[in-house]
């Protein structure tokens, strides 16, 4: 697969402060990549450099093979973007705003009419399509922003906190829209603070902190590389201290916590087979009613990496 986003040695400095430090990242066509990191990590600055909002101090960034620094018009031709919560011209309606942007992109009138209806329907803004945007809430503007980014069926979609400003229902709806895009010929590169969101939508993640890339890998590979898994088990029998200690003695068990007299949480190292053996042993002694994996593996990894990079 070809790399549709190629970032090489991208650096952005503000005086003595380095916001993005020699970032190199390649994103394959049709992949969905989550761009994660704490506040101030350099995610938004990177996205702004990719979308012609900020210039790079050094390095290169190619979108579909075109250098965004040297030829932003060419590089952004097939790129849809939503950066932070953009403001629209308040005197325009969603229909007029989409028409303006679509015409700047060269869409013909028939396609504009057809796609305007489709994308406004998709982001559930059809009822407000002829109202002036000046009176819209932040969440409504975010929906229209997503609509403009999808309007011309981009080959690359760059999103900076796409669910920011949305209510919980809106967040779910936007995630569903993004998940539906998997059927399309599109590459999604999105920053997010919400690890669950990245895990639900993306197939790989790039994590950065202090302007540096910490890891870029598929979520599956990251899970495999995790040191421990955590399961919470509910039993019929009560958990005694002796039993807890005997389980702690099992080599794969890294930690055990008694949550209540018939509930325990175990951190263990190993695969599904290891988990099965562990559960069978506990079931034979305490009779297991239910169990579930707890904790977000991505969250564990994220927190671990952020801690290490401090």
């Amino acid at each position: 697969m070809t790399d549709v986003i190629e970032i090489e040695g991208l650096t952005k400095t503000y005086g003595d402060f380095t916001a993005v430090n020699s970032l190199s990242l390649k994103i394959k066509k049709n992949s969905f990549v989550g761009f994660l990191g704490p506040n101030g990590a350099g995610k938004s600055t990177t996205i702004k450099m990719l979308t012609n909002l900020t210039s790079a101090t050094s390095g290169t960034a190619f979108l579909n093979g075109i250098d965004v620094v040297k030829d932003p018009k060419g590089a952004l031709t097939e790129v849809g973007a939503v950066v932070e919560t953009p403001e629209f011209y308040p005197y325009l309606t969603p229909v007029k705003s989409l028409e303006y942007i679509a015409r700047l992109r060269g869409m013909n009138k028939d396609d504009i009419v057809k796609r305007t209806t489709e994308v406004l329907e998709l982001v559930k803004m059809n009822e407000e399509k002829n109202k002036k945007i000046g009176k819209f809430s932040k969440g409504m503007k975010q929906r229209v922003a997503l609509a403009q980014a999808l309007m011309f069926e981009p080959s690359i979609l760059i999103l900076d906190e796409p669910t920011s400003g949305l209510d919980p229902r809106g967040m779910v709806e936007v995630r569903e829209i993004l998940q539906d895009l998997r059927k399309e010929d599109i590459t999604v590169f999105m920053s997010s603070h919400l690890l669950n969101e990245a895990q639900d939508i993306c197939d790989s993640v790039a994590m950065m902190n202090h302007g540096k890339l910490l890891v870029h890998s598929s979520i599956e590979d990251l899970r495999k590389g995790l040191e421990t898994n955590r399961i919470e088990i509910k039993t019929i029998g009560n958990v005694s201290d002796d039993q807890a200690n005997s389980y702690r003695g099992i080599s794969s068990v890294k930690d055990l916590e008694i949550l209540s007299e018939n509930q325990l949480a175990i951190d263990f190292k190993g695969d599904e087979e290891t988990k099965n053996l562990l559960l069978r042993k506990i079931d034979s002694e305490l009779r297991v009613i239910s169990f579930h994996e707890s904790g977000n593996p991505l969250e564990s990894l994220y927190l671990g990496m952020i801690k290490e990079s401090r």
Binding site: T51, L53, K73, V83, E87, R105, G106, D111, M151
Partner: protein, 271 residues
């Protein structure tokens, strides 16, 4: 992927930006305000004289010049309304977050916005000239032969003032700062410098406020030239009249320099 199209040329995009900017301006309160102000100036100029018992001049040139004395202030108000916030508002109001990631060069936005300001002001000034000409025709029975030349100078002056307003808008953070700076420069700084130069007997021909005089002088035939008279203290005093060619060059110079700097600043500015 059926709707991807070839992105229009820079020139086509300039036209599109200008079209939507004009649409925006025509819907704005500022446009209604400017038109109202122009009508008010014309109404007051036309109604107050008869009420005070002062008769109108029979000479179409003198009659029209009375009305054209207001052009400079009307152009300044128009430039403040349509040009001062044109660039800074993209950053201040964060509309740039929507527009700059589009495949459109920043200089294209700049050119489209500038073009729209000029078109709006040209329209408003044109309406002012038409009404003044109609009044001149009704009251004096004629219109000055060089009225189109005067309109040309007014348009060039409006373009130069807009260019300076764009320059300030590309540098300053907020629309309010751009508006205040534009007004201060044209109402105070330029006038103070002009007065100081005249007092020192230096020709202020390079000042845009001075060459704006061509809007009114161009109606006269022959075109007047610099002369030395006597001031109120009985001292010899030079009245500097900008030449037609000099006025054109100075205004074009202001436009070129201001727009080049505005383009560089707007292109480099970050959101």
């Amino acid at each position: 992927m059926t709707v991807r199209q070839t992105v229009p040329s820079d020139m086509e995009q300039i036209g599109l930006v200008a079209r939507y900017e004009i649409e925006k301006s025509l819907q704005s309160r500022a446009f209604i305000g400017i038109m109202g102000l122009m009508m008010a100036v014309i109404a007051l100029m036309t109604l107050i004289r008869p009420l005070l018992g002062i008769s109108f001049s029979d000479d179409p040139i003198t009659f029209v010049q009375d009305y054209l004395n207001w052009i400079e202030i009307l152009v300044l108000i128009g430039a403040v309304a349509f040009a001062s916030g044109a660039l800074s508002s993209e950053f201040e109001k964060r509309t740039g977050l929507l527009m700059f990631p589009q495949p459109v060069k920043r200089t294209t936005y700049l050119a489209g916005k500038f073009l729209s300001s000029i078109i709006i002001l040209a329209g408003a000034l044109g309406m002012y000239y038409v009404i003044v000409c109609l009044l001149s025709l009704m009251i004096t029975g004629g219109i000055p032969a060089a009225i189109l030349l005067s309109y040309g100078f007014a348009l060039l002056y409006a373009t130069a003032v807009c260019a300076v307003a764009f320059l300030l808008s590309s540098i300053l953070k907020t629309s309010t700062a751009s508006i205040v700076a534009t007004v201060l420069i044209f109402l105070m700084v330029m006038n103070i410098i002009e007065q100081l130069l005249i007092m020192s007997s230096i020709d202020p021909a390079f000042l845009i406020s001075n060459v704006a005089g061509a809007i009114s002088y161009s109606l006269q035939s022959p075109y007047p030239s610099t002369y030395t008279g006597v001031d109120f203290r009985g001292q010899p005093s030079t009245v500097f009249i900008p030449t037609e060619a000099g006025s054109v060059l100075v205004m074009i110079g202001y436009i070129a320099v201001s727009m080049v700097i505005a383009a560089i600043m707007f292109k480099r500015r970050e959101l």
